[in-house]
Amino acid sequence: MNDSLRAFFSRLRAFFFKTSLDHDFGDELATHIELLTEENIQRGMTPEEARRAALVKLGGVEPAKQLHRDTRSLPFLDSLLQDLRYTFRTLRRDIGFTTFAILIVGLGIGASATVFSVVNTLLIRPLPFRDPTSLVWVANSPGALGLSGQTMQVGHFLDLREQNKSFSDMAAFFAFYGVGDNKLTGTGGEPERLTSVPVSQNFFSFLGVKPRLGRLFTADECKWNGPRVVLLSHGLWQRRFASDPNIVGKSLTLDDQPATVVGVLPASLDFAAIFAPGSRIDLFNPFPLTPETNRWGNTLAVVGRLKPGATAQSAQAEFTVLSKRITHDHPERNDIDASLTPLASHVSGRLRPALIVLACAVGVVMLIVCANLSNLLLARSASRQKEIAIRAALGAGKARLIRQMLTESVVLSCCGATLGLLFAFLGTRVLTHLTSVSIPLLSDVRMDFSVVGFTALIAILTGILFGLFPAFQVPSIKLHDTLKDSNRGSSQGHGHAWIRSALVVSEVALACVLVVGAGLLIRSFLRVLDLDLGFHPERAAALRVDPNSSFNTQEKRNAYFTQALHSALEIPGVEAAGLTDAVPLGHNRSWGVRGKGQVYKREEYPDGYVRIVSDGYFKAMGVPLRAGRDFTERDDMNSEKVIILNETLARFLFPGKDPIGQIVNADDPDRKVVGVVGDVHHLALEEKSGNEFYIPIRQTQDFGSVDLVVRTSLPNSELVPRLREALKPTNPTLATGTLRTMQQIVDKAASPRRFVVLLLAGFAAFALVLASLGIYAVISYSVSQRTQEIGIRMALGASAQKLQASILFQTLALAAIGILIGIASSWALARAISSLLFGVTATDPATFVGMLILLTAVAALAGYLPARRASRIDPMSALRAS
């Protein structure tokens, strides 16, 4: 072993000292020949004879030198270097081709590397926690859509944590925190609304997160009514407190009360990217696990850590049994049917199909790039036949020639990959700055070694793939004919043309698949945008206007609400205003609800999504009133308890009856139904509403936040200062930084779909351009090869129109074959993306017809240009030129 290693380094050294070693060996050989010659002379030969005999005995000077060179050095590396030098020379000579090739490989690889870095972050790279594969998301019930179904009651959490044997520990956070729940005042600067997440005491240590400054929460701080403390996120610490190293121990004014900073979390903890994509989390505070919080109902989002050896499946079995027992033992609590998913698939599982589609699409793009370059190289190698023939005549072996061609294509693809890495770098930068896209972990997408390694691999594979056809074309070149220059004109081999046509056909077919895929997704996207959401997002905006702590009784709060609504309505341009505790597509919670006197089994007890609203809300949000009346200012704690249902719930509770005037039990008191409103898509754009009901804000205290929703024709820039001014007298410390238009909220909900659609449409467009270039290249090459033939035809009387038509026909025939294959494969493949479709079937005829028209038009255009050129050929010059 030692010997061969030493030999390798010696060879490597020899590789770098080539000239001096050549020189050295030349001297050595000269001495050898002189000594041999002298000996021969002594034997009685003439000097010429002696020298000749010496050379014979040596076996020739050049072979000896070659043998020496090959033995002492690395012959493979040597010839590779030669090939590379030659490649750079020829590529530089053909700068147009080189630029084009590098550009399309660059675009293809740039797209691949960008998509790979996203896939890598979301599906491959482990979550940024300690031992992330053992983390499991514990939902309250399987397949639940709303937050209340995902979360569990504090009592259940404590019981499960104590009784289970599968988990080493469990932690939780309060899932009903509101965006902008906390108002920060003082500390220099405008009052600002911050988002804080209450977490169980062990939450961060459970995840393996160590504070950057200070400490985590103590048990004392997690008691009911314990001291008010917060942990700052790294982002807030940097932004608002200029990374103050002495922040720990300082007191902030949060919601007009002091709270002590006990620590700062590290930058590596990106809670929002994982648990609340597309939002910003600023603070964390302790969540007490006590009888008081247990009474709040389903509130906790729960994560468990599997013991070594346990799996999510085995734990699920145990939790199913435990859930049944706990439900049975605690009739006073909500039901539980714990449902376990590995945390990684909970976070990015929903996006997995979309990402796989994107990855496949980018693979198809790369195949088209390869086919295109293959085609170009074939055309090039046809024009380089003479050069290759000369090299072969001078003794270059077939293997060497093939290797030379492959070297050229790999060099091209590696240059392209370098450019591609640059594109990917820009691409990932753009992605990480898409703050309004609610895709988990998107801000963590980055270029790392695995991306660079992937790119290198793709580059080499691509180079070999597109170089393969042209390279194996080389041995078939007929040396003799080529050198005699006798095969010009139209005598180009049929096999060659066949391969090029096949490549174009496959390009068209692949482009077809991408266009169909993109078309289906675009149509789905348009369908989603066209949905009647049950409210009108345009011209509506929401602003947090929570009453501050000075409004400490329900009476005072109600007065504040009335005053705030009046001031908002007085602003010219504001058409309607109302209050709500939860705007659609944001938070949701559900309560049990039934008609008075109706009896249900425990597991069939109906529930509905509850919203606490004021008069004017429905008008401001554009939710239609179907029957009865809206709430009024007089629906307060002194008047009759009332409720408004949505159509679905009204039908469910009172089928075939007039719901108005019926009595409903939702929260404690009996409530009379005074109105029915339209259903609202509030869970997700594509999800139906389910049961919904509305309770007047002046008749309850059970809300965590208050948003003022206004319908207005004013632009945002005017609305914010006017609202601030109007509300100042009633709420002087109002933070107005968090005005959200409903359109922004809808756009954010549509953002993952838009993200996928945009990328896929981009790929399809790129594929279309490449395919049309491929068609153009093949047709225009065949025209230029047939110049002479065309000249003869025209001289014999063929009309320009007829020629044009025949060339166009040739083009369309190629395209037609490609499209046919493409339709067949899209038909088969479209089913794979059916889970991403909305409102269209996988075999949507409009999409397929649209693709057919688009591709035919593109092909016709690509064929028309060379056809026109052919029809303008001057027969005389064409005949003379050759």
Partner: protein, 114 residues
Amino acid sequence: MSTQLDILKGNHLMVLKTLEVMGALHGYGIARRIEQVSGDTILLNQGTIYASLVRLQQRGLIHSEWDASSNNRRAKFYSITRYGSRRLASSAQNWEQLSIVMGRFFAAQKEPQQ
């Protein structure tokens, strides 16, 4: 290495043995010597001797140095290294063993069939 027999190739062994016996020698001298010792049964294409010399040098069994030859001509002289001597000794021993074993095989008669 220890379980396998340490046997250098025949031509390498001849070069090493020559250098051990003769001391420093140039390429021509080594080729002549091999031809002489073999009684001209091995007629070398003398150019190939240099490939062997390169291989031996790469493995550190010999080293080379430019010097003046007996009739004042500049020539490259090769000599065996201490490591080369060690390898030569063990290799030679194994060669002998092998040739005895091979001899026995060749001496064996075809056994009469029963």
